[in-house]
Every structure is written in structure tokens, then in C-alpha cells.
């Protein structure tokens, strides 16, 4: 569950956005899109691991890919690492998207916001392999940070929205869904909390799965850092790291 994995590729995709491909035997234990790895970027500081979602699992090649935004101390340092160097990876952790919730012949709507886009890629891949049709809507702040549109296009219809209108539809992912009146059987989303809330509210009658983000300590369920409330209880809780990060809409309070 913990390995020094080797960087095989490390490329910048967009402004501050990096694609990191690692090889190691841990890949053989990776199955679910939406699961994450917990990455130790440097030997001493930063101290804590960084959670990054699995974006692509390639068991044949023994490789997995993550996409991340270099912003704070840890990810900025990570962005400086080069192929050949190794990284301490713990995982896969958490419970991912239930792929089986969409049956062959059904249509899954995948909605990603910003750095929430990556886990949807492995999900799209698995759907296409199991005969589920995929529609993807990706939302970004601005043109400069758009990534993976082409990659998603190979799996199905793909729409992009940017908040400032510099690329694709101007506005939010929900604007695209509404304008295009996109239909689907099951919805899967990952992105900022306001986006998840909007989707939860808009489709109360649908089967909707949401991937949450929360600051983590341990990443394995031991420290109680990442809890969220369960509806209608003052003390009941779920842990984002080990019960999630993917929850069915309504299961937890957003």
C-alpha cells in the first residue's frame, strides 16, 4: 500500500497544471476511478502527504497518472521533480465512483470542475469499456487552465465551459447542462463544493454521485480531520478519506 514509485513522465498541460505518470507495483492494486493516492513530496518538509486522484490506471504498462495544479508549497515542489526520480506514494485510498451503477446501454453524465476533472477520465474509460455511453461537461476558470478536452472527446460528447467565457460556453457547467438539456441516467461529478451543491439540488430525483474534497491529516480514517455531517443527526459523520471521497448525493451534508 506504500511504495517508492518512479516518475516516468511529467509534463505541463496548462497554466500550473501538470500531468504526472508513475510506475510501480502499486498500480496492480488500483481499480476504482475516484480513489486517490496520498503523496509525500519531499523527505522532510512539507510534512504531510498530498491527496491526488487517480486519473488514468494502466495496469499493462504498470503505470498510473495523476493531474494536479501546482499552487501551494507541496505541489510547487512536486512540479520540479523529473523523470527518474522517485516519490513515496500511499494508496490507493478511499472509495471511488461506483462504475456498476450505470449499466451497459445507459448514459452517464460526467461533470468536472477545474482540478476535479482528472478522476473522471479513468471513469469515462471504464464506462466506454463496459458499454456505457458518456457525456462529459468540464468547467474551468479560464482558457489558460483548460486541459484534457481532446482526451475526453475520444470517449464521447464533451463540452467545456469557462467562467470568463474565454473558451467554450461562458458560465458554469450547469449552464451547459441546462442550455443543451443534456440527458443521462446517472450523474458523476467532482469539483468545487458550490458546483456539487448546484448539481445535487438540480437533480434530486436522479442517481447522483459526488466526489468531495476536505483537508486531510492521515488520509486513512484515523485522525477525524476530514469528517462531514450526515443529514438529520448531530453526531453522525462520514470521513471523506475512508468513507468517501465519493458519496451518493444526499448521503452527507455538503
Amino acid at each position: 500500500m506504500k511504495e517508492q514509485m518512479t516518475i516516468v513522465r511529467h509534463e505541463q498541460l496548462a497554466k500550473q497544471i501538470y500531468e504526472l505518470t508513475l510506475s510501480g507495483s502499486l498500480v496492480q492494486t488500483m481499480n476504482e476511478p475516484g480513489q486517490f493516492v496520498h503523496v509525500k513530496v519531499a523527505e522532510y518538509a512539507p510534512l504531510l502527504r498530498r491527496p491526488l486522484s487517480l486519473c488514468d490506471i494502466n495496469k499493462e504498462a504498470g503505470e498510473c497518472t495523476m493531474i494536479y495544479r501546482a499552487e501551494g508549497a507541496g505541489t510547487t515542489l512536486l512540479a520540479k521533480k523529473r523523470p527518474g526520480e522517485t516519490i513515496d506514494v500511499l494508496g490507493p485510498l478511499g472509495n471511488g465512483f461506483p462504475v456498476e451503477a450505470a449499466k451497459a446501454g445507459q448514459r452517464a453524465l460526467l461533470v468536472g470542475g477545474g482540478i476535479g476533472v482528472p478522476p473522471l477520465y479513468e471513469l469515462a474509460k471504464q464506462f466506454v469499456n463496459s458499454g456505457v455511453s458518456v457525456t462529459t461537461v468540464l468547467g474551468f476558470q479560464t482558457k489558460e487552465v483548460v486541459f484534457y478536452e481532446q482526451k475526453f472527446l475520444t470517449y464521447g460528447e464533451t463540452y467545456v465551459a469557462t467562467v470568463d467565457g474565454s473558451y467554450g460556453t461562458k458560465g458554469f457547467v450547469t449552464d451547459v447542462i441546462n442550455e443543451r438539456a443534456l440527458s443521462f441516467d446517472v450523474l458523476y461529478a467532482c469539483g468545487p463544493k458550490p458546483m456539487l451543491k448546484a448539481l445535487e439540488q438540480q437533480f434530486p430525483q436522479k442517481e447522483v454521485y459526488l466526489s468531495l474534497e476536505e483537508r486531510m491529516g492521515c488520509g486513512v480514517g484515523a485522525c477525524f480531520a476530514c469528517v462531514c455531517h450526515v443529514p438529520n443527526s448531530e453526531t453522525a459523520y462520514k470521513k471523506v478519506c475512508s468513507d468517501g471521497p465519493v458519496f451518493k448525493a444526499g448521503e452527507v451534508v455538503l
Partner: protein
Amino acid sequence: MNRLVVQLPGLSLKNPVMPASGCFGFGREYAKFYDLSVLGAIMIKATTLEARFGNPTPRVAETPSGMLNAIGLQNPGLEKVMEEELPWLAQYDVPIIANVAGSTMEDYVEVAKHISKAPNVHALELNISCPNVKKGGIAFGTVPEVAAELTKLVKEVSEVPVYVKLSPNVTNIVEMAKAIEEAGADGLTMINTLLGMRIDIKTAEPILANRTGGLSGPAIKPIAIRMIYEVSQAVSIPIIGMGGIQSAEDVIEFFYAGASAVAVGTANFVDPFVCPNIIAELPALLDELGFAHISECTGRSWKKGGSTIYCGA
């Protein structure tokens, strides 16, 4: 191989390394990584009378070589701990140290009375210093008379030895320790976290929803070492040391300062295997340093002649 065996009041430890309270839940999560029976003991998450949800999130923030937490003593409450967590832990050959917390003295006494009856609870650890609980918690840990009174009350009802966990947020840690020793504590555990804070540069808001939180991790190690060094020379009850331990070398440093056993907190988050790794590395390190038994290290930095035996490099 009994060179790691340590005997403390109530605790017969196969080795002196245990996870610190709050950093290991009730053991279930780390049981997926390794057999918990390798541990010297387990300090379970603070238990309160009633179930607590704790503070709003974010509850953790990273700091240079450390982290802040403001979990707020989330736990399922005494009843569930007694009925679900402790029986589950009983499958492992490992003594449990139950961390006891509350808002009032009565809370502590009530929890202590019951939890000390659980067959695998071999000692209590009174958490009088959690900086994240607004009512009471912090005052217990900073006023010697109050800490002493609480110790006495708990000693009266506990069926197992009582260790009191010291807060480092005090002017005079020795005074606290002595008051608690005199009140009848069987041992001390130290240190709990230092009160700290971080502010988000973009929003100007504290990063933790609770605003302040407890600082733990390697950053606080020199403070822990200094406090254990001072306290161990002033009291005669044993100390379980903690604060930033990450390696077998750190363990030895805590022993030299005056600890008789150690707990590992934050480092579990960095490496879930840290406790078994440290335990595995200790014998070779003792060889390298020339010690037959780890207990020889306790207090070596201040015991007379402490520095004459080993003549390395």
C-alpha cells in the same frame, strides 16, 4: 529479545513504542497496514461521556515540519467505546491506554470509573490539556491545583494506574508535574500540543474553522525534549514521552531526556508503518550505541556518568 521490554505502572510492554492518542483512532484503520500486536501499547482516541462530533472543518492545517489540529475530541462516546471499540481491540495482544477527556471534573470521573473496568484497558491517560475544547479543558492543564484535584478524584475511582498528560502551554511545567505527582498520579505523558494558529493569506481568515489549534509533529520535538529533561529530574514517576517522534533515533533522544516509553503521533499520518518500523530498528540502534537494554537510556543526558560509557567516532 527482551531488551525492549519495559515495565511501567499497570503496563507490561513488549516494547516502549505506542501510537499517541488521537493519531490512531481506535486502531481499526492501521490494522489494515499491520498486526497491531507488534505495538508496545495503544493510546486510543480521547473518550468523553457522550458522543461528540467535534469542531467544524477545516480541522487541520500544515505548518513548517508540523501540523495544527482542532478535531475537537470527536469520538463515539463512552458507551460505544466500551461496547464496540475496546472489545474489537481485544483480539490483539496489546495493552490499551484509554485517553479520558471531559468538560467537567464529573465527566472525567465518570468516564474513568467505567473505562478502567474494561479488561484490555491497562492504564488511563488524563487528557487535561486539549487546547481544542473551550470549556474547562485548558484550565485543567494550566493550573496545578486544579490538575491535582482532578488527578485525585480520578485516582479514587480508577481500577488501573492513572497517567496524566501534561500541556506544554505553561510557564512552569515542573510545578505542574510535581503537583500531579503529589496528587497520586502513577505516571506522566508529555507533551500534548502547543497552541498555534495559521491564517490564510488570501482570505485573511484563520485556516482552521476553530481558529486556533494544537501544534504537533517534528517542529515541537525540541520543546518536548526540554520539558521531559526538566520534569524527569524533578519527579520520580515514569514519563511516556511524545512530540514529533519520527524515528528510532528520536526515541533514543526522548529516553536520554528522561522518558521510559514513547508515543508516536503525527508521524503515523506521514507513514502508516512508522511504529512497526521504529520497533524493528531499535535493537540494531541499541547495538550501535552499546546498550544492552533500552531502559539504560532513560535520563542518560542528566544522570551522573551518563556520557562516559559510549565512546563512538
